[in-house]
């Protein structure tokens, strides 16, 4: 990665981290409801892959831990936060919530709450790309435990069979909620599981954004060149509980500390400082600016935005009636 890109990515990762930490606080203050799954610790995964891809051009889909993926695709952090606040100005107009961030304009095709549900959706997006003949690819980010769903195997088979332009990124954070991977899955290294479908696969450190980028570069190029699907496994760790009600009794504080030694933001920061591209003071300024932006713009916007109107409760269930009348009434011209 070029120095300028690394500096930009560091700034983005700081935003991603602080955004999520601010969500935590807003949840405690009861500004955010429902389930809230946070991303700290895993930032290098999304950033490394998307640096190799084309955000806003390639289609991205993921599970419920979706805020950062949306923002990386180009979604406005203000709209993502407003969605968490349930506001009309939210990315899904307050109808989706934390687990259902969408930004179709930025080709972020959504967060979905059913574990394993996005696998076939991603393959379908790739099928549409194949039919239309575009140079986009579909990228599906999911966790390790999702691979135990039937949809994983069904989708790998179809994607390989039909050579669909889809990149599966497995963010292996070693846990599915409170069940460690050894206790749920016969194979720890997930990339081994797709060999049966003749899908090329790779695994790498998910904490160092440059390493992720290098491996993703190969993966993205493979898929974009029309060679069919690819599976990339990134070894990573989530610092916080699975969602907000999780006190992490299923793992040790020592294990957590060990992973925090390899923090994706600090790895990149320290490298940039060592390379002489920035100083610690520069970094601290980034943190300050980020926090100010989140407070003065993101939070302010979310606080001040209006709630959806109860009169609009049934809006968006079906397509606008007027536009569908020929088929609903049979009076097609």
């Amino acid at each position: 990665m070029k120095i300028e890109d690394k500096k930009r990515v560091l700034r983005e990762m700081v935003l991603h981290r602080r955004f999520e930490e601010r969500c935590y606080q807003a949840y405690i203050e009861r500004k955010i409801g429902g389930f809230l799954h946070l991303y700290p610790g895993q930032e290098a995964c999304c950033n490394g892959v998307m640096e190799a891809a084309r955000p806003g051009h390639d289609y991205v889909i993921t599970g419920y831990r979706d805020h950062v993926h949306a923002i990386k695709c180009g979604a406005d952090p203000k709209e993502v936060m407003a969605e968490l606040y349930g506001k009309e100005t939210g990315s899904s107009k307050g109808r989706g919530g934390s687990m259902h961030i969408f930004d179709a304009g930025k080709r972020f095709m959504g967060g979905y709450a059913l574990v394993g549900g996005p696998f076939p959706l991603a393959a379908g997006i790739a099928k549409a790309i194949q039919l239309k003949g575009g140079d986009e690819i579909a990228i599906c980010f999911l966790g390790d435990a999702a691979n135990n769903q039937g949809t994983f195997h069904e989708t790998m088979n179809m994607a390989a069979l039909w050579k669909l332009p889809v990149l599966f990124v497995c963010e292996n954070n070693l846990y599915g909620i409170g069940t460690s991977i050894e206790r749920s899955t016969a194979v720890i290294h997930q990339h081994k599981r797709v060999a049966a479908y003749n899908i090329p696969a790779d695994e790498c450190d998910g904490q160092d954004v440059e390493i992720v980028y290098q491996h993703a570069r190969k993966a993205v190029d493979h898929v974009r060149a029309g060679n069919g699907p690819y599976f990339l496994e990134l070894m990573t760790y989530r610092y916080r509980g699975h969602s907000m009600s999780d006190s992490r009794g299923y793992r040790s504080r020592e294990e957590e500390e060990l992973w925090k030694q390899r923090d994706p933001i600090f790895i990149l920061r320290d490298r940039l400082i060592a390379e002489g591209a920035m100083t610690m003071a520069d970094y601290e300024a980034i943190e300050k600016e980020t926090d100010a932006y989140i407070e003065n713009e993101v939070i302010k916007f979310s606080e001040e935005s209006p709630e959806p109107r109860v009169e609009d409760l049934e809006k968006y269930v079906l397509a606008d009636r007027e536009t569908q009348l020929p088929w609903l009434t049979g009076k097609a011209a």
Partner: protein, 327 residues
């Protein structure tokens, strides 16, 4: 007007729509090279090729989800689920993805998919190949459900379903694919909403849909000829949304109602239509509305037991006679 079979009508709708729009595709098990279990996609593989007529692996959840994902980008997939009994494996994607995506994305994404499936009891296919499941589909927000009772509807409903931006589930019937009927020669779009008065009458309304429309028509004939009772038959080809206005109009005229369904009774078209009657025109009623339905058993294999499970026109006649104090 061409007199063609139900399966031919479905095939024709596929063919016309696929010829018109390269983004209309179809997929399912054995639909391509083999031409489809019910021939509904016969000849399409040869005409449109494997990219648009997709023989899928036996992965109902997987390929249904794939269709939904493709539809986000404007592809119009027609998914054939070989038997509605297998649709349980696809329901996660139909309900959690297709039906909800518009809402949970605040209107940004939509899933213009068509899911077609054969439901109903054929002949001794046993418990896992005979289910009716319209009750499951018709209560899902964001999903339209239609069910054709004849070739004209089979053609016109599919045409409209493909064009409509909402996901549509089309409930067909194993026993109806070879039924013949008149279909307009020109392009025809059947409304996805509403109901049809198939036979006008004054004394009682017989509500049916799909195969039970035919029981109702036969029953109406018998009631008229043998008992002097004038029955109106209303075809509820749209199960979601149900036609509240149509139900109200007919019952307000006849003051009596029987709902005939092949599905088993607890929860279903019968309970829903009667709830609508209560809400819309309770004081018009001269008698308590009645349901005619299957017994609540997994479909038995034995011929006599199977017959005892599924209602027919005689059960409709009996229900009406009882209502009129004649049985």
């Amino acid at each position: 007007m061409a007199n063609i079979m139900y399966w031919e009508a479905i095939q024709r709708a596929h063919d016309e729509e696929m010829a018109r729009d390269p983004l209309v595709i179809c997929m399912g098990e054995d639909i391509g090279v083999a031409g489809g279990t019910y021939k509904a996609t016969k000849g399409l593989y040869e005409k449109y090729g494997p990219l648009r007529v997709m023989d899928t692996p036996i992965s109902e959840g997987g390929f249904t989800g794939l269709a939904v994902g493709a539809s986000f980008l404007g592809v119009r997939p027609i998914v054939e689920i070989m038997s509605v009994n297998f649709a349980w494996l696809a329901m996660d994607q139909m309900f959690n993805s297709a039906a909800k995506v518009r809402y949970m994305s605040g209107g940004q994404l939509t899933a213009p998919c068509v899911f077609r499936s054969a439901g109903g009891a054929a002949h001794q296919l046993g418990a896992q190949h005979s289910a009716r499941m319209e009750k499951v589909f018709m209560g899902i927000a964001g999903l339209r459900v239609v069910t054709p009772s004849n070739p004209k509807q089979a053609y016109g409903l599919l045409k409209s379903a493909i064009r409509c931006d909402d996901p549509v589930f089309i409930n067909e019937h194993e026993l109806m694919y070879n039924m013949k009927g008149e279909v307009p020669d020109g392009e025809y779009f059947h409304p996805l909403e509403g109901s049809e008065v198939t036979r006008a009458g004054t004394d009682v309304t017989l509500f049916g849909y799909n195969i039970s429309v035919h029981w109702c028509l036969k029953a109406a004939e018998i009631l008229d000829k043998q008992y002097g009772i004038s029955a109106e038959v209303v075809d509820l080809y749209s199960l979601a949304p149900l036609d509240r206005a149509g139900i109200k109009a007919s019952v307000s005229k006849t003051h009596r109602a029987v709902v005939a369904e092949e599905d088993e009774a607890p929860v279903g078209v019968g309970s829903e239509v009667i709830a609508i009657i209560n809400e819309e025109c309770f004081f018009e009623l001269d008698a308590a509305p009645v349901r005619v339905h299957s017994a609540l058993v997994p479909q038995p294999y034995n011929h006599t037991l199977e017959k005892a499970t599924i209602p027919d026109h005689e059960d409709v006649v009996k229900a009406v006679l009882k209502m009129f104090g004649k049985a």
